[in-house]
């Protein structure tokens, strides 16, 4: 029977690892991720989770052990946030070219300086180029579902890349929402045990994983990793559709569109701000304003074709970012505009909620209003708009 409980985003992630029958977990505490490893500690010590559980001495060691355990052939899991993710950076570059399908949720939190603990994407954005599939969830149900789907996608032979679901600090990690947990039997049916045929460290079938490699070969590793990332687009959609059929929740794959069909202006969002944006769209529609919403679920693989299709039917596009690449703009904005190269549609980047500041209904409404103005006039007044910043006119 489907179990429905009120849980935090962190619990949903931890319980996802349990239900995915993860065999190895490396754990290190960091706010606001800590509850994930605390919950797993309870599952293991209560005997309801059968995993090797390694309480390591840093995030660098957490991801190192997770990579090696996955290379050995065990379904492996760890979780982190912020400074911890930054400390992992070196090792984050390892699993994709070695084709190790780790799943690691990241609770997005600001990276110092200034030091803070609230939601910002300046922890995850610097990790974009390392070969991880990266997606942003909107609610706690999606946290749980994407741990399960994550392993299924990552372990698919056409993909074999690590998978990183991102959830907003506190807004999801520490907030309780009703979440449905399907039967273990049904999850097992959807996610069979991991068969480490291509990479394992077993004396009965010796293999070298991580060999010193000269330039004669490294470029092919890069090309194959790129091919795998491209292949993931199709696999993500397939897994989404199968999940939807089996469990009744459809996330639509790489992106989710909301009222985009006849929209003049759309806003592209990542993470929890999407929920606020849905409400704004519904209200503005009532006022006869033709706006729509695109939830950018996956940043890697990047849904270029899907976004171009949307751009064809609208007159202007706004992109919300919760972090900035200094002098270049918000990372999502830069990537969307790049994907739309040659399309001659105004694209506006909005920066709000940096460092975890609340992104209010009125802030999101302003993003839609400005994008709609650009749709009508055919040009963006400003390329980059800071919203809710002291002394700065949006």
């Amino acid at each position: 029977m489907v179990e429905r409980r009120l849980v935090s985003g962190n619990y949903a992630a931890a319980y996802g690892a349990l239900r995915a029958r993860v065999q190895f977990v490396a754990a290190y505490p960091i706010t606001p991720q800590t509850f994930i490893v605390e919950h797993i500690s309870e599952f293991v010590n209560d005997g309801i989770m059968d995993a090797e559980f390694m309480r390591v001495e840093s995030e660098h060691s957490a991801i190192s052990a997770t990579v090696s355990a996955e290379a050995t052939g065990a379904r492996s899991f760890t979780a982190t946030a912020s400074q911890g993710l930054a400390l992992m950076h070196e090792i984050l570059a390892i699993p994709a070219p070695l084709r190790l399908p780790i799943v690691m949720p990241v609770v997005n939190r600001t990276v110092a300086a200034p030091i803070g603990i609230w939601a910002e994407y300046n922890d995850v954005m610097p990790q974009r180029d390392l070969g991880w599939m990266m997606m942003f969830v909107e609610d706690n149900q999606e946290v749980f579902d994407m741990i399960i789907q994550g392993y299924r996608i990552a372990e698919d032979k056409r993909v074999l890349l690590p998978f990183m679901p991102n959830l907003d600090a506190f807004i999801l990690s520490h907030t309780y929402e009703p979440v449905e947990f399907p039967d273990q039997e049904d999850i097992d049916d959807f996610l069979p045990p991991y068969k480490a045929e291509h990479a394992h460290l077993w004396p009965d079938d010796p293999m070298a994983i991580g060999v010193f490699t000269p330039p004669e070969y490294i470029q092919e590793f890069r090309y194959q990793t790129e091919q795998a990332m491209q292949a993931a687009k199709k696999v993500i959609k397939e897994v989404n559709d199968e999940f939807a059929k089996k469990f009744g929740r459809d996330y639509h794959g790489l992106i989710e569109e909301f009222m985009t069909d006849d929209a003049e202006a759309v806003l592209i969002t990542l993470g929890t701000v999407t929920s606020t944006a849905r409400k704004v769209v519904m209200d503005m529609r009532k006022e006869g304003k033709k706006v729509g919403l695109v939830k950018l679920r996956f940043l890697r693989p990047f849904p270029k074709d899907e976004l171009r299709k949307i751009a064809e039917k609208v007159d202007a596009i706004g992109v919300y970012d919760k972090s900035i690449s200094y002098s270049a703009g918000g990372p999502a904005f830069v990537e969307v505009r790049n994907a739309l190269y040659g399309m001659e549609k105004p694209v506006i980047g909005y920066l709000a909620g940096l460092g975890g500041r609340d992104v209010r209904y009125s802030d999101v409404r302003l993003m839609f209003e400005k994008t709609l103005e650009a749709a009508k006039s055919g040009k963006a007044e400003k390329e980059l708009v800071w919203i809710g910043t002291r002394g700065v006119q949006p």
Binding site: F24, V56, E57, P203
Partner: protein
């Protein structure tokens, strides 16, 4: 005790590797793998062994072999061991072979963490007393006075100004099941310790003195002779720590007053890396060795009961 004659013929670390002539690390690894056998998984960090042990698509390893990065030998080895347990291969030995830089310096955090958790791995540090793979830079394990490319023999400062870090004692302080020091110049002692450690459970640490002819400015044929002289002069003490007890296995010659009989000068003069040392520096090092030897004896006495 096992000797070199007891070892099987088959190499699990095969010929064709690209180590320098006289490489102490290569001597260690080739013989150690004969002791360990096929039911072994090896981890190496970024070091000479990573490079000379195989360049894609070739490797000298005939057992599963893994590399992730530089500073995580202990934790990656532990991750492998735990995952092997989970995939039904609990009896497989996991060995990490790291150098002194990867152990005494950048790898110390992961090493200390794994030791504290008593991870079931065998950690072998081959100590050639500098970052040799990057071209002979000072490490925490470089001895006093030694020339390296980051402690050059300058007009004002000549060689390393600090003394060698005592990693085995740091490991003993973690109270792990087994800590040993050994040398490629004493193969029977070395192989016996490797065999013993192979069959133990929990965290085992062996630090093996391994000459680097290239970095020490020593002719390759002198590799073993130099290593022997290190023990004779007290520069390197060979002992083991097991079940809370410490025993010095090979004792250097002492004079009638109980002091070290062979002066460090005999060791220094064999190596180009010490050529620049002044009389004052040699005396400083001799005093340090005398004190270190006294401390080793005192530790043995204190930890003998």
């Amino acid at each position: 005790m096992i000797t070199i004659h007891d070892l099987p013929k088959e190499n699990l670390f095969t010929g064709g590797h690209t180590a320098c002539p006289g490489c102490g690390a290569a001597i260690l690894v080739r013989n150690a793998m004969k002791v360990f056998g096929k039911n072994t998984v090896v981890y190496t960090p970024a070091n000479c062994l990573l490079v000379f042990g195989g360049t894609y698509p070739y490797v000298s390893w005939k057992v599963p072999y893994h590399h992730v990065a530089f500073e995580n030998t202990a934790v990656c080895s532990a991750g492998i061991k735990r995952a092997l347990k989970k995939t039904g291969r609990e009896d497989t030995l996991v060995v990490g072979f790291a150098g002194d830089g990867g152990t005494a310096d950048i790898g110390m955090q992961a090493l200390s963490g794994a030791a504290e958790r008593n991870e079931d791995i065998l950690y072998i540090m081959y100590d050639n007393e500098a970052y040799m793979n990057t071209g002979i830079q000072r490490s925490g394990s470089t001895p006093y006075g030694a020339w390296t490319t980051t402690t050059p023999a300058g007009k004002v400062i000549k060689g390393k100004e600090r003394f060698k870090k005592d990693v085995p004692q740091i490991m003993i302080a973690h109270n792990v099941p087994y800590v040993a020091t050994a040398s490629i110049a004493y193969p029977n002692d070395l192989l016996t310790k490797l065999e013993k450690a192979k069959n133990m459970k929990g965290f085992r640490y062996i630090q093996v003195y391994a000459t680097c002819p290239t970095g020490w400015r020593v002719p390759p044929e002198k590799t073993v002779e130099v290593a022997k002289k290190a023990v004779e002069t007290g520069m390197w003490t060979i002992y083991e720590y097991e079940n809370g007890k410490m025993k010095i296995n090979i004792k250097p010659k002492l004079d009638e007053n109980g002091n070290l009989a062979v002066p460090v000068r005999e060791y220094l003069k064999m190596q180009g890396r010490f050529r620049h040392m002044t009389e004052e520096q040699i005396e400083t090092l001799q005093n340090w060795v005398n004190e270190k030897w006294k401390r080793d004896l005192a530790l043995e006495r204190a930890l003998s009961e």
